[in-house]
Structures are given as C-alpha cells and as structure tokens.
Symmetry: C2
Subunit: 138 residues, 2 copies
DNA sequence: TTGCGTGCAAAGGTTTTGCATGGCA
DNA sequence: TGCCATGCAAAACCTTTGCACGCAA
C-alpha cells in the first residue's frame, strides 16, 4: 500500500518496507533511525518523523503514546489487524506491551457509542495494568 | 490524608489543599505552577514536579498521560472515585477529556482478569476516540 | 521546471537533575 | 544539629521547525 499522495522517495520506500516486514512490532522513532544509521543509506531524524506522521495520517501505521518522556511507538497496521478486535495492554510493572485479540472486548465500542455517544478508537487506546507474571512475583 | 513520610512543608500543604479542593479536576504541572505564581508564595517548577511525584507514589493523586509532547495531567483521587467505575475518554478531534461514570464498563476489568490474566488499572487508562459533538460537525 | 522531500541544525516544550541554600523536626 | 525540601539554572529528552539543497515527476 503505497502512500496516496506526494512523491515516491527512497527514504519513504525503505521505511515502509522495514515496518511492513515486521507487522505488529512496535518501533520508536529512534529505533527506526538507528536501524538505518547502522546500514548504508541512513535517514535523517526529521525525515523519520515526517514520514511516520504521513504513514499515521494515511492509516498505514499506528502510533502509540505510552508515557510522558517516553518515545512514541509506531507499528505497521495490517489489514487483518485493522478490525476492532486488536487491543493493547501495557504492564505498569515490567513495561511489557501485550497484544490481545479478543472478540468480546469489541462490545466496548458498541457500548461507548450507544450509551456515551463516544466513537472509540480501539487502535490507539492502551489499557494500563499489571500482567499475570508480575502479579505472581508480587 | 497527609503524606506518609518526609517533612511537612508549606509547598506540600498548599499544593495538596489546592488539588483536594478540586477533586477530579485535571491540572497540568504548568497550571499548578502558574496558579501559585499568580498569588503570593510561588512554588518552583522542580518542587511542583517533585511533590506531584510523591503524591502519585502515595496514591493521593492520579497521573494521566494524554499524548507525546503534551503535559501530563494530575488529579486528586477521591476515595469515592477510586472505585473502578470512573473512566476517561479523550476526543482526538477537540482534545476534550470526558469523565465517564459507568457501572457496565466495570465488567471490562473482570473480563481482562479472568480471560487475559491482566489486572486492569482503569484509573490510568484513557479511551481515545471522537466525541458526539465532533462527529456531528463532521 | 516546479515543488515536494531531505538533511542539518536549531528551536520548542516538558520533565529531570545538580548543587547550594533554607526549613522542619 | 541532621536531614530533607526548595529554588535556580542547566541538562536531558523527544519532537518539531526553518532553511537551503536535491530529487521526483
């Protein structure tokens, strides 16, 4: 899925190929920049951010804000993932980001819309809490 | 509910009194600083952050992360609010933060715990989406 | 040729930290 | 007195922006 408008450039193509090769995997802007800095064809930080912003605007990539001061995370959004049954949970203890596929949770969207007039964007929402592993450890 | 450890100081007392007088209202660190800068007894930025950090650690105040680059929000956490029936929705269009009291949504916590082994912290989670007003406007 | 994309550097904003001073117990 | 809290300034951090140059169409 190439961008819908604007020029087709090398930086854009390589970033998209990289993200697409790791669907569902979260990358920070710095990680993406470092990935390309390591090899040939480094890409400037500003370009990283500008392309990511474009990808997000076009719905190709999702952006997740996990905390103040922390970097935002970006992940390639597959068509299959794009349905409302994909959720994210972040463990406040170990920091792990957990992916959840759950049909039941889709009911939340209906409830929020019908009862609270709010069109929920599940893809951007992160559920905070404590994962099972961390609870066992105390 | 005074802090459990450390000294009892003027800055601490005034900040807590201010937050407590507005339960459930969200303030950024800058807003709190400006509030005290306006009157007598201004409080330094570093102290604002250090006290807020302490309040959050002690559970007196809740911290909300709404976006990268945006300031974090802090709100006094009443006992009554502390139950799981208080939720937050942020409109991605107008930026408004909507408070929601909904018994039905509490079922999410049970579901996440029983089916996904995840102890959800509803107080910290923000639901992103589009509010009714903004949808009407297109 | 036209104008968008890129890179560098600098700015922007929020939050944290170092260090000397002041206040609480 | 001993130790913590405070304030100022500077640093740290992520992200955005200005500007000149380069590349796509």
């Amino acid at each position: 899925m190439p961008p819908k408008s604007g020029y087709h450039t090398r930086a854009q193509e390589e970033m998209l190929a990289y993200l697409r090769s790791r669907p569902g995997v979260h990358h920070t802007a710095a990680e993406i920049r470092d990935h390309f800095s390591a090899g040939d064809n480094p890409i400037g930080t500003a370009t990283i951010y500008r392309q990511l912003e474009r990808f997000v605007a076009e719905g190709i990539v999702r952006k997740y804000v996990l905390g103040v001061g922390e970097s935002a995370c970006y992940a390639y959004a597959e068509q299959a993932e794009d349905c409302a049954s994909h959720f994210h949970c972040k463990c406040e203890a170990c920091g792990r980001l957990i992916h959840l596929d759950c049909e039941d949770l889709k009911a939340i969207r209906t409830h929020l819309l019908d009862h609270h007039d709010f069109a929920w964007n599940a893809g951007k929402t992160v559920f905070y809490g404590i994962c099972g592993d961390c609870r066992k450890k105390g």
